[in-house]
């Protein structure tokens, strides 16, 4: 049972199900991504989860959550197309499975309200200085950590190169050099602004009394009405010239990441055919990339492609020996060509559609997966239901996939090479 309730500036999504032992709460705030706001937004939720006026430090907050039968609380950041999304997630045991009748969901919602609306402040115009300074240090480490995970690093660098002059190139955690400019005061001002202006959504999934939960949310989480900012509809991006970027580091394995423009986004009519294209090309173990780069040529352990659905990109990634760069690139390009020529069988098409359906059914089996699927509609201002998704994927025909292929252009090849080459 799905129910959406407008509550001032907050859209409340209630999803009632008996599937889970827990109740899940996800709060999301979103605004267009810019070079200027990414770093401060990356810091904000971490400061919020570090102290409130009632629970003034991490120690008190975490002790309280443990008391609530190990309530989960975490914050994270996402780049969804050219939006920056802050998420705060809580998951609480459903007390009907405990030898306790503590109203855990009610306490969880109350706690979330405390976190969002009663943060630890100084003089009513600043966050706690010490908390902010400590979290700035950790944010710097978080930004630097991207360098140490080479798969992540290669993907980040590809996007930086490919989308140079687009907001999408801004990293989700912002920039190292911008961290020091943040103060407890200017962060607090940004907090007030974003709480007043961001698009806000609250998802609650589990087994609960909808009326009670709705009343509680109305009481505890009231936000003024607003007109959220939207990114203007993207214009089609033409690739003039294929860009090749090679960077050398001391590594055992080279990372070859390739960015393609699809110019098709979630909510577009041909998005479903694009899903099928990606599935045939690199989404599964029966896809062309896995079969040809890994199984036939033994060049790699992983070789796959995935979509950036809200930006209109397709990303290919594989890890290879540096000396095999040319061979791997040639095979990947050949496979793209095969796809564009429609060189795949009706069987493979049916198999891919079945896998995509299966993947979706499995995703919505988890409360967080379900919420992410629903949030795609918020981002794209569309309304793709599960039923529509199923129907549209089933309808995709070979010629639809070929048509989608005509729009796909290889934009940038990024190779993080080992030293041997």
């Amino acid at each position: 049972m799905k129910k959406i309730i407008e509550n001032g500036g907050l859209k409340l999504h209630l999803l009632k199900t008996e599937k889970y032992k827990t109740n899940t709460i996800v709060f999301k705030m979103k605004t267009p991504l810019t070079k200027e706001n990414a770093t401060i937004r990356a810091l904000l939720p971490h400061v919020l989860q570090s102290g409130t006026n009632t629970y003034p430090s991490i120690t008190e907050i975490r002790s309280y959550l443990e008391e609530l039968y190990g309530a989960v609380l975490y914050v994270d950041l996402q780049k969804k197309g050219e939006y920056h999304v802050i998420s705060i997630t809580m998951e609480l045991a459903n007390e009907k499975f405990l030898k306790s009748d503590e109203p855990l969901l009610e306490k969880g919602i109350t706690f979330l309200a405390e976190l969002l609306l009663n943060p630890k402040t100084e003089n009513n115009n600043s966050f706690d200085q010490q908390i902010v300074e400590k979290e700035k240090r950790i944010l710097k480490q978080r930004i630097q950590a991207a360098f140490d995970d080479k798969m992540r690093y290669a993907n980040l660098r590809l996007i930086q190169e490919m989308c140079k002059n687009e907001p999408y190139s801004v990293p989700v955690n912002g920039y190292l050099e911008d961290v020091d400019e943040i103060t407890a005061q200017n962060l607090y001002s940004y907090y007030e602004k974003s709480i007043a202006e961001d698009e806000l959504d609250l998802f609650i999934v589990g087994d609960f009394d909808e009326n009670e939960v709705e009343a509680l949310v109305r009481e505890k989480l009231s936000f003024t009405e607003r007109n959220p900012k939207y990114v203007s509809k993207a214009i089609s991006h033409k690739v003039d010239k294929e860009n090749v970027v090679i960077e050398k580091q001391d590594l055992a394995q080279g990372k070859l990441n390739i960015g393609l423009r699809t110019n098709i986004r979630y909510g577009d009519n041909d998005y479903f055919a694009l899903q099928v294209f990606n599935g045939l090309f690199g989404g599964f173990p029966h896809s062309k990339l896995f079969i040809n780069v890994r199984e036939k040529a033994s060049l790699a352990y992983y070789a796959a492609s995935r979509l950036e659905s809200h930006k209109g990109l397709m990303m290919v990634m594989t890890g290879i020996e540096t000396k095999n760069y040319d061979r791997a690139l040639t095979i990947i390009k050949e496979q793209l060509k095969e796809m564009k020529l429609g060189h795949f069988t009706e069987d493979e098409l049916a198999q891919t559609k079945a896998m995509i359906q299966n993947q979706m059914m499995e995703t919505i089996d988890t409360s967080r997966g379900y919420i992410e699927v629903l949030y795609h509609n918020v981002i794209s201002q569309s309304n793709v239901t599960e039923e529509l998704w199923k129907e549209k994927i089933n309808e995709v025909k070979k010629e639809d996939v070929i048509k989608v292929g005509e729009k796909i252009q290889l934009d940038t090849v990024y190779f993080l090479s080992g030293m041997e080459a």
């Binding site: 443990e66 039968y69 950790i138 080479k150 033994s298 299966n358 993947q359 409360s367």
Partner: protein, 430 residues
């Protein structure tokens, strides 16, 4: 077929031991789309010294062979079983750990067909010299991927420091050199020794009819010609209690240093409730010392020694056990020193609080409940527990039983200076 009900959790479990020795479990999950099935053998990377079936001499096999075998089970005379699964709309996978090799799939349709494919795949081996050679390139790249991963190197670096002889110190995938020695005959030898149904467990979780599932498996297995097999003879060399090396530094292409303190465990050869209780008590001990609600965590955080990569973990199996504490840090020497100080203080219980323990127990009960949302957790953990004669559904009752004295006792006996070691990863250019 036996049915066990867990009223408080609103779950039920069906079980049957088949004539050929295979243990089959089914946990129906109403309301779910997905069915998740694992077929696991009690055979992992540590089982590298054993008496092959039909032989009376022990042999030592190349490092990484259990994992190599896992890869090769997917290839058959008529092609790649991955493809059969995807044709039937299932996502298949497999993994090898220190003590287990698991083959699994998830699907929302064609459950019986896919289950049949899974059983055929695992029970009908097919290895040739040619396919074995081809796999060396793929696994070589898997090994290189891990070689570039600083967290993996830190993890194995710490374990390597702890053990003199025990094969847990060997990387699960082996090395490019060690896998070069793998042949199809060796794979068959390992296969026939460890893949007998009596050494395996099949777990089904999802929106299924347990009776129909177990009937199908029983019929399938009855038709296959398995002969009873004697008990597997594994050998582990004597392992001293102290660590092999106090510390090690690895230089890598990273920006942020990493530090992991390892504590070699001395709880070995435990099984059943005894093991479950030890495992939970040690986990609670680590929660008391290092969770985000602890004073120690606050001190480390205030001193700028840790960030959100800080974590801790305890692993216990029949023949080895260890705890790990650490993460990214700008001052690995200082982090090492404070972690060790906290551990050694806990040996005399100075920094343990009974009140906090009650909270940690609640915390763990809630976490267990949350984990039951996950079919993957249920199947994988149930199997691991069963291979150690433990019962996953005893977690909550045993947790409730654990007293402050139990936690103090594990602290006294586990913590010892000569069982501590550290591994650090430092940027290469320093």
């Amino acid at each position: 077929m036996k049915r066990i009900e867990f009223k408080q959790l609103d779950e039920e479990l069906y079980f049957e031991k088949l004539d050929n020795g295979l243990d089959v479990y089914c946990l129906p999950k109403r309301g779910f789309n997905k069915t998740f099935i694992t077929f696991t053998t009690k055979y992992g990377s540590v089982d590298n010294h054993f008496m092959p079936l039909g032989s009376n001499a022990f042999i030592q096999v190349p490092d990484g062979i259990a994992h190599f075998l896992e890869h090769k089970m997917f290839e058959k005379e008529d092609g790649d079983v991955f493809q059969t699964f995807t044709k039937q709309g299932a996502s298949a996978n497999a993994f090898t750990s220190f003590t287990r090799t698991a083959y699994l799939f998830s699907a929302t349709n064609n459950i019986y067909e896919n289950l049949k494919t899974l059983i055929d795949m695992v029970q009908v081996p097919y290895f040739t010299e040619q396919t074995v050679e081809k796999e060396k390139g793929i696994i070589g790249q898997e090994i290189q991927m891990y070689n570039d991963n600083p967290d993996w190197r830190l993890y194995f670096g710490t374990i390597e420091n702890m053990y003199h002889n025990h094969p847990v110190k060997i990387d699960i995938a082996g090395t490019i050199e060690s896998i070069a020695d793998i042949t199809s005959e060796l794979l068959y030898e390992c296969y026939h020794t460890f893949y007998h149904p009596s050494n395996m467990l099949l777990f089904v979780v999802g929106p299924v009819d347990p009776k129909a599932i177990i009937d199908m498996i029983r019929k399938d297995q009855a038709a296959r010609p398995f002969k009873d097999q004697p008990e597997i003879q594994r050998r582990f060399d004597d392992e001293p209690e102290n660590v092999r090396e106090n510390g090690k530094i690895l230089k890598m292409n990273v920006q942020t240093p990493k530090c992991m303190v390892g504590m070699k465990g001395n709880f070995i050869n435990q099984q059943g409730d005894e093991m479950l209780k030890t495992e939970l008590a040690v986990q609670l001990l680590l929660d008391l010392l290092f969770s985000r609600s602890s004073n120690n965590y606050r001190d480390f955080y205030d001193q700028g020694l840790i960030d959100d990569t800080f974590s801790y973990d305890y692993t216990q199996e029949e023949t080895f056990s260890f705890a790990l504490v650490g993460g990214d840090t700008t001052d690995p020497d200082q982090l090492e020193s404070v972690i060790k100080k906290v551990l050694l203080k806990a040996k005399t219980h100075e920094n343990l609080s009974e009140q906090a323990l009650e909270r940690m127990k609640k915390n763990k009960i809630g976490s267990f409940l949350r984990a039951l949302n996950s079919p993957e957790f249920i199947a994988n953990q149930f199997t691991r527990y069963a291979f150690n004669e433990m019962d996953l559904f005893r977690v909550v009752p045993i947790l409730e039983e654990i007293t402050f004295d139990d936690v103090k006792n594990v602290a006294s006996s586990l913590i010892s200076e000569d069982r501590l070691t550290v591994c650090k990863i430092l940027p290469k250019n320093e």
